[in-house]
Point group: C2
Chain length 192, copies 2
């Protein structure tokens, strides 16, 4: 009964994601979006709402995808240390590839969190989620005898995520893949 969309809603959202991730919210104008996504202003507004809504839709998509990958890696039946090594490597590769855009969540935390309550809430929830996943993997490692019982899985998880934040910043601003991998390997010493 209606004319079908001439563009793939999800695919366009992905390209918006790439733009916002690389340039940030303020540095990406709506005109940029129209030009680079190849979709008319009005269609963008009708489909996604205003610029802020589009941004948050892209961010949400990014986070879901990130959590999926994270869960997939954590669920593998490998030793903890190897698992986190793989996790760090995947993160470094993803943050350095394609012009080193870094982590979109980190970029949002720095650019928007201080003056946007929604971003702050999204960030807090995501951080809690990731740290929770890390911690439960570490607890599992303790039960399996892979990790000393003296360690605090929650504190360790937080530290590991803080390391991820730092590596994401370095990836975006410096983009030195090998150095990041070396740092990640050192960070994993806390598991010994």
């Amino acid at each position: 009964m209606t004319r079908p969309k001439e563009f793939d809603e999800a695919e366009v959202l992905d390209r918006a994601l790439d733009l916002f991730r690389a340039r940030g919210f303020k540095h990406t104008s709506f005109a940029d979006l129209v030009k680079e996504l190849g979709v008319s202003r009005q269609s963008l507004y009708d489909t996604y709402g205003d610029k802020q809504a589009l941004y948050h839709a892209a961010l949400a998509r990014y986070l879901v995808r990130n959590l999926d990958r994270l869960r997939r890696i954590l669920d593998e039946a490998a030793p903890v240390r190897q698992t986190f090594a793989e996790l760090f490597d995947a993160m470094i590769e993803g943050n350095c590839a394609n012009g080193a855009p870094g982590c979109m969540m980190v970029n949002a935390m720095v650019e928007l969190a201080p003056h946007d309550a929604e971003t702050r809430a999204v960030a807090a929830r995501h951080v809690r989620e990731v740290e929770g996943l890390y911690a439960s993997r570490l607890s599992r490692a303790q039960r399996a005898g892979e990790l000393a019982r003296t360690k605090d899985p929650v504190a360790l998880a937080r530290f590991l995520y803080h390391t991820v934040l730092g590596l994401s910043v370095a990836a975006r601003a410096l983009g030195d893949r090998d150095n990041l991998r070396q740092s990640a390997r050192i960070a994993l010493q806390v598991l010994d």
Copy 2:
């Protein structure tokens, strides 16, 4: 022969620093600066140049101050581990206080480095400088027998700085001082 400035050039620069540090470059308008610094547009232009020049002057001031504090702490005659603990604590306190603005260099790295060559160069130089200071303190620790010879001071320094980057992001977006201190303590385990 001329009318003296009605404002203290350095003091105004400090207030500009606080604004840029808290809000970022794009999110701080020139009108904001005029209003919050209490200095007329024209005086700002005459004294500091345009917005970008003012920003970079503020950033440079921030970095000098940071490096001074860093050198002061590293030059103390305390054990390495205690020195770096103090260093992390000072950094956390500075990044969480006054509305948790985080580290201005980190903020610039995330917001500006990807599309501003000057910021990128400043960041690269600063990172090299800080990592160098860390590394030489670690080498000194090795010579003093405080740190195992098997460790690589340069890699360790890089890791410690990456940790600082991560803590700065968390400070700005989440502002949980105690968690950060706990993370910092865990990071220091790599010195053992």
